[in-house]
Amino acid sequence: MVMRAFVFGGKHNCSLQSVPVPTINSDEVLIQVSHCGICGTDIHIDDGEFFCKENLILGHEFSGYVAEVGADVKHLKVGDRVVGDPMTPCFQCTYCQSGQMNYCVELPGIGVNLDGAFAEYIAVPASNVHVIGDNVSMEEAAMAEPLSCAIRGMDLLKCKSGESVVIIGDGTIGLMMVQLCKLAGLAPIVLVGAKPSVAPLATRLGADVFLDGRDENIVERVRAAVGFKQINNVIEAVGAKTTLELSLEVATFGSKILWFGVPSPETRISVVPNEVFTKELMIQGSLMNPHTMTRAVALLNEGRLDLESLITHTFTLEELPEAFECYRNNPERIKVMIKIMR
């Protein structure tokens, strides 16, 4: 049996190929992929910035239907509507043993060094598979993975109900953060973006104020929008030099700053260490999604978030090069989704 798959063949050399349908081990399931979203990580890999095994199928934000079940798998059956957690740790190293799977020395992961989901079928360890509710659409379910990463960031930020937050970035993660902050009772929620056309959506999803980050007086505008309140939390969800620097510039005394956006390894920024000292700033990074997939799926099943509205463009597997192009160059895009099942 063969299938269509989008294979990474080195920097700027991804192509649609015909490859064998994967076989499964006794503790795995075969998933027929319904949808798989494009993540910034996929673009970084295509640009040769992040490590990725060659001749690997990319794609790690996916939903699908269980097509085949390994002999030892008890909690899943053929036809189940599911999402997969791409993190496949070794369970043996010091980090795994202490529950910090995202630091695993094997750096494992579907779509990074195990075949991913820009393909008709994918083999996944059963313990990485979560069943989704019937009320959740397959395209929305494909966003459970980025949502679980956003939840990890929220966990690390330790923000509390009633605190203020400034979110920088109006992409998929920024608009997920708006919703998570709304759910967590933060107020006010100030969103700094680059797409004024997103403002009505952002407001509907929970932002109190939308500000255009390209305004030269953006720091004053953010401070004014928060009013006399301390800015307790800043979430940077872009990963670019200007937005990372902005996250430090808007901070007040005691601000906690979550750097969630994924910068290129070459990115360098300018920091005023004295500001970190005088304001007791705390800068927090966030990597992947250890133990948060269960909660991401639960929030989707309970209908607490609107992720469907974040999908602005949908392409087929054959159109993946155009989809990458759209991700890179269309200023209006939010989530770019690949519909794989015909």
Partner: protein, 346 residues
């Protein structure tokens, strides 16, 4: 087939020496030749039939020192002749807490020398390689046998909200209380108060660095704290005994908001003043065993001389004199005279 001697607890207060095959290490397992084994409070409960979860027949012994004899398939971290000790929990790796690194809370755990795995009162034992820790050459077998109880102390302090400069009371100056007090001292406690009804134990911990020692038979600790401490009184109280009297002492001594860490193993139900817990926002935390990080800390602390375990090893027997060793461990007069850890050596 090669055989070995094991001393099995066959019934309440009844040991039997048996000649049995030397166990084979399976995949991911290590066969360890035992050098020394300590007697823990829980071993005494198992021996006298008072342990709620340990039932004969079982080979006791989980505080031990040993040498790798053989390794099973897939074990690359260890080789024959290496000096080691191990944690006791063999766990499923799949349940909620295992996945989050709190595997001592495993839903399906087995515990060396307690439940499901024969322990160190035998010439050899087999344990999961994941739980084995290499020890430096400068540690004696007696010191290595104290890694396990010291890891209990490290876990309790790590689990608490202790911060450098805090005040703390440790209730009980037996092996676990003594080691908890020493770990707090090492971590920068400001005022360390230790209480026990045995004066000899108090004298030892005083020598090892406690600021104040109190015998509750002579001095009410709650009253002493009210009269002699500042408004912070006690930031933390570690109950390393866990009976009605000590829990009462903890709750009565606590200021509003104090954290009480329960390290001792209480009988199932203890009538205590829970109204104070609610009204004073006391934080009561249970602490169970340890995880790998605690073992790493305990090994370093002993090998670098940061904790004194030598003074706690007061009674050493040959393994052949196991009956006398258990009799000594249970001897109240020995404790009154300052007897602490009983060890048996091969």
């Amino acid at each position: 087939m090669k055989t070995m001697k094991q001393i099995q607890l066959t019934d309440v207060r009844k040991f039997e020496v048996q000649e049995v095959p030397i166990p084979e290490p399976g995949p991911n397992e290590v066969l360890i030749k035992v050098e020394a084994v300590g007697i823990c409070g829980s071993d005494m409960h198992s021996y006298t039939g008072h342990h709620p979860f340990v039932h004969p027949p079982i080979v006791l012994g989980h505080e031990y020192s040993g040498i790798v004899e053989a390794v099973g398939e897939n074990v690359h971290r260890f080789q024959k002749g290496q000096r080691v000790t191990s944690e006791i929990a063999v766990t499923c790796g799949q349940c909620y807490n295992c996945k989050r690194g709190r595997y001592q809370l495993c839903e399906r755990g087995k515990y060396l020398g307690n439940v499901g795995i024969d322990g160190a009162m035998a010439e050899f034992l087999v344990i999961d390689a994941e739980r084995v820790h290499a020890v430096p050459d400068n540690m004696t077998p007696e010191q290595v046998s104290m890694v396990e109880p010291l890891a209990v102390a490290f876990h309790a302090v790590r689990l608490s909200n202790f911060k450098v400069g805090d005040t703390a009371m440790v209730i009980g100056a037996g092996v676990i209380g003594n080691l908890t007090a020493q770990v707090l001292k090492m971590a920068g406690v400001r005022t360390l108060v230790v209480t026990d009804v045995v004066d000899a134990r108090l004298e030892l911990i005083k020598k090892q660095g406690a600021d104040v020692v109190l015998n509750p038979i002579k001095t009410d600790p709650a009253e002493w704290v009210r009269e002699n401490m500042g408004p912070e009184k006690m930031d933390l109280i570690f109950d390393c005994v866990g009976n009605e009297a000590t829990l009462d002492q903890a709750i009565n001594t606590a200021r509003k908001g104090t954290e009480i860490i329960l390290v001792g193993v209480p009988p199932v139900r203890v009538p205590v003043n829970m109204a104070f817990v609610q009204d004073r926002e006391l934080i009561v935390v249970g602490s169970l065993q340890y995880v790998a990080e605690d073992y790493v800390r305990a090994i370093h602390a002993i090998s670098h001389g940061r904790v004194d375990v030598d003074s706690l090893i007061t009674d050493v027997f040959s393994i052949n004199d196991y009956e006398q060793a258990y009799a000594a461990a249970l001897d109240k007069d020995r404790m009154t005279r300052g007897g602490m850890k009983v060890l048996m050596e091969y």
